[in-house]
Point group: C2
Chain length 235, copies 2
DNA sequence: ACAGTATTTATCCAACGGGTTAATTTCTGT
DNA sequence: ACAGAAATTAACCCGTTGGATAAATACTGT
């Protein structure tokens, strides 16, 4: 025959395929949102056929929910390894802030996915049974730190742990998630190394100052940036 | 004739039409994002024909940019009326926080539109000449407050005004923009009246405590919520 | 009145995009 | 070996959607 027998056809790899699909979907949903994501692109990025998505996961929305659940699972899992119990309360909070900040930096898709889900008013997340259950321990972890902080006299008031965590997440999330528009309107690159370092200092200083009522070493650094001619600094 | 002459046909109203189109587009883009927005729905909501969008504004992306610019213009315009110069620095900051919070509450489309634009990495905003220019005065307004606060001895450190504003916006923006997912994962309704009031107190207390180093009346209230059995409180 | 222009309506269409059908190929147990 | 199941491919279907064309209708100045 003119056409020789094809040498390498394909091998089966259901688990690998599934993972590649989910990873590709995560990238695609994060980059374009739910409506903007293209099933064909996901298939292509996964090195697969579009039919595979439906075979291994389900339709577009199922795919999306699975990605979202995996995303939450990942961050909460990493947080569990933080070992805050053995740190001084202020240290523990600083560590939580540091971790959150760096996690968001390392995982920009997380931010985008959450925004996408909130645009949908958490329609999909509400259907998820997995996600709801994984947050009580996390809240308790923070509550324990706060309680210790109050008892040891380090913290002035026993803040609501949910409120506190939302604030910590907010300071990091908003800065990074909105860095594109903020960089444009304020005319400076918020993602460059120095800006990032400065932001982390600022966040830790802000939260610890409020909790402890004392100025920290880091807080002192808040003075420095102001002296720079901050406006019109081209990106 | 069986079919009588149509009584009311239609009147011309170019300006009104344009406004209705932009308002409808704002709602649509905010509700569904750029990719999810439907040109037909915008036309319908505006009480217009789809052709009108193209006649009065341009294609979908032009429409989107115009909405976005209008959105920024509106918030910055309202901020200019805040009159922070005549307030005590801590009062001025509290007022800015209060305003920002309530503006976000009153204008949820603003949050959604910014998120959408950040998903697109500010691609459209970068094309806009209008938007960039309107922010220097705003930053200066905040800088002036901070400077006065330091001079009067109210504030411990001269924080970078951009950094400070980003933090203020972050505390309000993230809470509201992500209220859907946060309400699900923490199992409580973050948008109900008491929760909103509590949040505003918390934000003001947090920022002022960090700036002034002193506990405020509002900060005392941070203690209360913790005593509630916060977990598993059904929405 | 009436001609010319501005505004609005009524259709149409080509491309796209999610999802499906059916055929093909690899793997597994016996 | 081989039958049946699992995994993968190729091709197609059909409603949707952004955008375009052309015709109709209201307004304006003269």
């Amino acid at each position: 025959m003119a056409k020789a027998k094809r040498i390498l056809k394909w091998q089966r790899d259901p688990e690998g395929m599934r993972l590649r699909i989910l990873e590709a979907a995560k990238q695609e949903f994060a980059a374009h949102g739910l409506a903007g994501a293209r099933v064909d692109r996901i298939a292509e990025k996964a090195g697969a056929n579009k039919r595979m998505l439906y075979y291994h996961v389900g339709n577009k929305e199922d795919l999306y929910l699975e990605v979202l659940e995996g995303t939450y699972e990942k961050i909460r899992a990493e947080e569990r390894t933080l070992d805050l119990e053995h740190l001084d309360p202020p240290e523990a909070i600083a560590r939580l802030i540091d971790f959150t900040w760096n996690y968001f930096l390392r995982n920009p898709e997380f931010l985008a996915l959450l925004n996408t889900e909130n645009l949908a008013r958490a329609k999909h997340l509400k259907r998820s049974t997995k996600v709801k259950s994984m947050h009580s321990p996390f809240v308790e972890m923070i509550r324990a730190v706060v309680t210790r902080g109050v008892e040891s006299g380090n913290f002035r008031a026993a803040v609501d742990p949910v409120q506190l965590y939302i604030s910590i997440a907010a300071l990091a999330f908003f800065y990074l998630s909105n860095s594109a528009t903020l960089s444009v309107i304020f005319g400076r690159d918020l993602l460059k190394k120095e800006a990032r370092d400065e932001r982390l200092d600022h966040m830790i200083a802000l939260v610890l100052a409020a909790l402890t009522g004392k100025s920290t070493a880091a807080f002192g650094r808040m003075e420095m940036p102001t002296l720079q001619p901050v406006e019109h600094q081209v990106m």
